[in-house]
Amino acid sequence: MKIRIIFIVVVVLALLAGVPWYGSASIVQFGIDALLTATLAQGWNLIGGYAGYPSFGNSVFYGLGTYGTAIAMAQFGLPFWAGLVVGGILAVLCALLLGIPILRLRGPYFAIATLGLAAAMGAVIANLGIAGRNNGLILPLFRGDALFYELALGLLALTTLMIYLVSESRFGAGLIAIRENEDAAAVMGVNTTLYKVMALALSGFVSALAGGIHAYWITFIDPGSAFDATLNVKMVIMAVFGGPGTVLGPIIGAFLLSAISEVLAAKISTVAGLFFGGVIVLAVVFMPKGLIDVGYGVRRLGLSYFVQNIRQNRL
């Protein structure tokens, strides 16, 4: 069983890694975008899916990653990898500093507090000279979509591996306990503050790396695009659509929704948003645990799986 799973993972990875050789340029570009968004969804999965803290501040970490990389490269002439390190460190510091006070809040209060962060951080950056204020920064041009594609794929693979290891670990069990009943977790000796902050920091770190890769790829960043709250909404939707708190759910959600929105935007751009929104509403009503749970649920209960979900939603 285990060997079969490893075999499947290797084959899928090899197929994905080969895309720049047999895919068209536009498919590679779509791939970079989808892989980076999937990484963001996967990063959100850790704090939102496993620990149950619906963060709307992950776009801040993404933004810090883009700016860390951009400042290091454009202002100090440092190499790309150093930029990634700078961005990653900035995001982790931010997660530690903000996480300790904000993670004391629960449920909607936590979500609202984090929601304010993206706007505030964007305003801070827009007034920093070193960050190019409102004009943004231009990074050195590097043409090589294939390389960016492989980088994004590697990051997603490592992030997913990390999520898998966490899900199998004591740390992961602690996060799930926090999600299910934080008071009980504390009574059972889980150091809830430490775990939540660690989850946020890890989540911020991978988001920042995705931001750094995206910045170098797109070569131009400004506060509006780097600290975009809708990006955060996208992460949440993708993770929830695919299956929050699962290892593969957020990836499936991200790929599927990226593909749907790409096709829709090309064919019928005006009603695309409407259709997209509709899909999400239906998904949340009929499969609140995400796509990944549907296969299992339908096999167990048949179509009454959907009825049960509606009942649990108390509609």
């Binding site: 004591r170 069990a173 299910e180 009943n181 008071d183 009980a184 009574v187 059972m188 000796g189 889980v190």
Partner: protein
Amino acid sequence: MSAVLLEIAGLVAGYGEAPVLSDVGLRVDRGEIVTLVGSNGAGKTTLLRAISRTVNAAGTLRFDGHDLSHLTPERVFDLGLVQVPEGRQLFDRMSVEDNLRMGAYRRRDRQGVAQSFDYVYRLFPRLKERRRQIAGSMSGGEQQMCAIGRALMAAPKLLVVDEMSLGLAPVVVDQLLAVLSEVRSQGVTVLLVEQDVFAAFEIADRGYVMETGRIIREGAVAELAEDAEVRRAYLGV
């Protein structure tokens, strides 16, 4: 090894500016069942929070030879001071077995954990029958069994049970009390915090009566049950 397991003296604690406990003293010896009774708002829960180090307190706080006053809640837990919290606080969407497993969260001895599973299932055969069931779907009594079982999975030295009888039928409370007696006979000391004085006095050796943040009476339960003040206030006779 000293006979005293938990020793509290001159304890002052509260939230913000408002002191809740003043000069509280309490002692639990190894192998005892001690009960702490008092009405709503007497400060029982605050005292438990001070013991588990989730609220700051000044005064003497010693457990099993360790000074607790500077330890984190996790360290206190590691020393073997484990709570069955008020309202049970189960992981409602998890199975009974997973709830029990969470009790052993900080233990690393696989064999010991397996033994604790056997022990808990022998103590509560009902939990064994229902080990795959979702904890939140069980009856109140079964949930309380699960909460006690979960705490026992941590291999405690002192089991602190907070408001066990709340909302349970008297017959279920009697069953649970019998289990606590059995747990004690196997070497686990019990501190039972209760509003239901009748229930608590049935199995306890000694008792403390708390009122507005102070201990107003202490002694063997037989004496307390005869005490005119206690009878008037709590036994309604």
